[in-house]
């Protein structure tokens, strides 16, 4: 499923389907809100603590009418820019680092007043002006989006097969693992992660791995084409289950992938770990946006209440526990330690360990934030097709 249908977006689509089966058209927590329910176009990964959005609605003190959403960029653009999305939805979620630009440029979403979100004070410092992730929620200097989940994508590997814990992307290109390596079938994260590796290891000069110029795209793809021709890669995976199966069945010994894939593959019995790469990782987030239609209908208060929940440690702790996604606010560790009734000691230890490892991954200097629509996107696609054909 993202940027293929079999990409993280498809995974989200799958999760959305689960939510949609139970939540489509339903109004949750209606008793909590006096006004109209917020019509919220979002996938299942945008909620925690219940099978539907009822817990989110109760926490926010509003009504939420969730309409299940896939995470496909083209669908969101078509619906919100040329379709009837403005009539249908008050708020929506999508990928940061590009979709907020697309939506804002087409006036599909409106700028936000962060003063109306008390928990904005908790937001991770990277999102403040000048921070590494600042541009993933802004368009022309104004905040248009509230981040609610993120992660730093890395490599999953089978420790039993490798016998060591790799800390460099370089191991994926080591000839001793020829034919036992998988990459994600998505030009965005794959080219960005390989660019980070090539830049940080000094092999190729690259200015910005998330927004390469044509010469840099060519150099990265030629590197991959060379290794593909030598038989280094078993396949490029598409789709969540596909990614899990490759690792769990030992068809490959390592794969660049999303963290939940490693978690599920591990549950299937394979000794799969998720590493921290010293060169860096592509970091990405998903964001909440307020539609022009929602503002016209006066849904500001409900929207800001929901945004406030997304930036609360209550949500952060639960999205970490449920999906393994990184919280977007500070104070989650304090929250976990203070809420022993919700998280027993074993759960707290496990979550704090995951959080600690995530923070280590986020601290790597070479990390680069996702850019959904790089400036030279056609070069990316043209060279990706050459890699496919090689």
């Amino acid at each position: 499923m993202n940027q293929s249908e079999f990409t993280r977006r498809l995974f989200m689509q799958g999760m959305a389907g689960v939510a949609g089966a139970t939540a489509a058209g339903g109004i949750f927590g209606a008793a909590a809100a006096e006004g109209e329910a917020l019509r919220f176009w979002a996938p299942g990964i945008a909620k925690v603590a219940a099978k539907d959005f009822s817990a989110m609605a109760a926490q926010a003190g509003i009504g939420i009418n969730n309409i299940a959403k896939s995470a496909r960029a083209d669908e969101a653009i078509q619906k919100m820019v040329v379709g009837d999305g403005q009539k249908l939805f008050d708020a929506l979620t999508d990928n940061g680092g590009g979709m907020e630009d697309a939506m804002a440029e087409n006036k599909a979403v409106v700028p936000l007043d962060t003063a109306k979100i008390p928990n904005w004070a908790n937001i991770l410092p990277d999102y403040n002006e000048g921070g590494a992730a600042a541009e993933t929620i802004r368009y022309e200097g104004k905040v248009y989006a509230v981040p609610y989940i993120s992660n730093a994508d890395s490599m999953a590997y089978n420790y039993d097969e490798l016998g060591f814990h790799p800390d460099s992307w370089g191991v994926m290109f080591d000839s001793q693992f020829k034919g036992r390596v998988a990459l994600q079938n998505d030009y965005g994260p794959t080219l960005t992660n390989v660019a980070i590796y090539l830049k940080e290891s000094g092999k190729i000069e690259i200015d910005n791995p998330s927004d390469m110029n044509p010469k840099e795209v060519k150099a990265v793809c030629e590197f991959l084409i060379d290794h593909k021709k030598k038989g280094q890669f078993r396949t490029f995976w598409d789709g969540f289950q596909n990614g899990v199966d490759l690792l769990a069945s030992k068809e490959v010994v390592m794969s660049s992938c999303w963290e939940p894939i490693q978690l599920v593959a591990r549950k299937k019995g394979a000794n799969i770990h998720y590493g921290t790469m010293k060169e860096g990782h592509q970091t990405w987030n998903n964001v909440l946006m307020f539609t022009k239609g929602g503002r016209q209908r006066g849904m500001d208060e409900a929207f800001y209440k929901l945004a406030n929940v997304y930036l609360s440690p209550w949500f952060g702790a639960r999205t970490l526990a449920t999906f393994g996604f990184a919280p977007q606010m500070t104070g989650v560790d304090d929250y976990l330690n203070a809420n022993t009734e919700d998280f027993d000691e074993a759960a707290r230890e496990r979550l704090l360990d995951i959080l600690n490892r995530k923070q280590q991954r986020y601290a790597v200097k070479g990390n680069s934030w996702q850019n959904v629509f790089p400036t030279h996107i056609r070069e990316y696609l043209d060279w990706w097709s050459r890699l496919q054909a090689a």
Binding site: N2, Q3, S4, E5, F6, T7, R9, R72, A73, D74, I77, V81, V82, A102, E105, N106, G179, L183, N185, Y187, K228, F233, R234, T235, F236, D238, G239, Q241, N242, D245, S249, K250, E251, F373, I377, R378, Y380, L381, D382, W384, S385, R386, L387, Q388, A389, A390
Partner: protein, 313 residues
């Protein structure tokens, strides 16, 4: 001329008199110029709305200018240039070759089944037997294709079996995540198309034809090659087109069974749409439509596809 001097105008006997006697709504429902005529226009309207119009829009949008997140009216062949100057054309040709391979294998495996059912199965049971081939279509295509993974993989059933009986000592890795894997997936997914259309064509071949061949001493191979295949050619071609089109367009198969970066026309279109390059997606679709129309035209000239729809005599 006045009414008095002119002969009285009476409705002509027969049909005209009936028309005059029937109320207008009844004439509309039963008359040749009424609903019966309209019914004949329904396919035309349907084809215009759901085929001609989308094809026309595809062609028009393919020459639009791309904007950052959408497209705007204009005329440029840039999307076509992009298709032919990048490796997409090469990927498209590879996909065509894989599909052609799947067509050949499906013919070899599927058409004899159609012939066998027509020739050996009692007439009363033939349709039921053929309907059994619908069963795979009742399972999600994704599941059908994904289910091949545990069979064909390095540690899968096939490799385990071959190793257990001592045919191989190391797992064969060339079956999955290779063009061979894609062709296997296409054959297993689309084989019923060949069986259906082959059987449909074989229904037009009367059983006495086989008897005549036997009486004249024609061998199995020459009967098949010189009699059956030419008679069933339109059906074989129709089945081949179904398989070829699906092989070219269903992106799941190369995604799940293909090697690194395996793709086909459907995947190319999808990747373009996800990157919001709508003119490129339209251009690839237009190229696909033209390719398939050309194939249909050639097939029709060679085999006269209308024969498959002729009543059985």
């Amino acid at each position: 001329m006045t009414a008095e001097t002119s002969p009285a105008i009476e409705p002509p006997a027969g049909r005209g008199r009936d028309i005059a006697a029937k109320p207008r709504w009844r004439r509309f429902l039963t008359g040749e110029d009424g609903i019966q005529k309209v019914v004949f226009y329904i396919p035309l309207v349907f084809m215009t709305l759901f085929f001609a119009l989308p094809v026309a829009l595809t062609l028009v949008w393919s020459v639009f200018e791309r904007t950052r997140f959408w497209m705007e009216p204009g005329f440029t062949l840039f999307a076509y240039e992009t298709f032919f100057t990048s490796a997409r054309a090469e990927n498209f040709l590879h996909a065509m070759m894989h599909s052609a391979g799947a067509v050949v294998i499906s013919f070899v495996l599927g058409f004899p089944i159609a012939v066998f059912v027509r020739r050996r199965v009692p007439e009363i049971a033939q349709h039921r037997v053929i309907l059994l081939f619908i069963l795979p279509f009742m399972i999600s295509e994704l599941i059908r294709i994904f289910a091949l993974r545990p069979v064909l993989s390095r540690h899968g059933l096939l490799n385990s079996f071959l190793m257990d009986i001592g045919v191989i000592s190391e797992p064969i890795s060339a079956i999955l995540f290779t063009p061979l894997g894609v062709v296997i997936g296409e054959v297993l997914s689309f084989l019923p198309f060949m069986v259906f259309s082959g059987f449909l064509a074989m229904e037009a071949v009367q059983k006495y034809v086989f008897e005549v061949c036997d009486d004249l001493g024609a061998g199995t191979v020459s009967t098949f090659k010189d009699i059956i295949v030419p008679l069933a050619a339109p059906g074989i071609f129709a089945g081949s087109v179904f398989i070829f089109v699906n092989g070219l367009g269903v992106g799941l198969i190369p995604n799940i069974l293909g090697g690194p970066g395996a793709t086909n026309a459907g995947s190319i279109v999808f990747e373009s749409i996800v990157a919001l390059d709508f003119p490129l997606a339209m251009a690839v679709s237009a190229i696909m439509i033209v390719t398939l129309m050309a194939l249909l035209y050639i097939g029709h000239r060679l085999f006269d596809l209308t024969r498959i729809l002729e009543p059985i005599s």
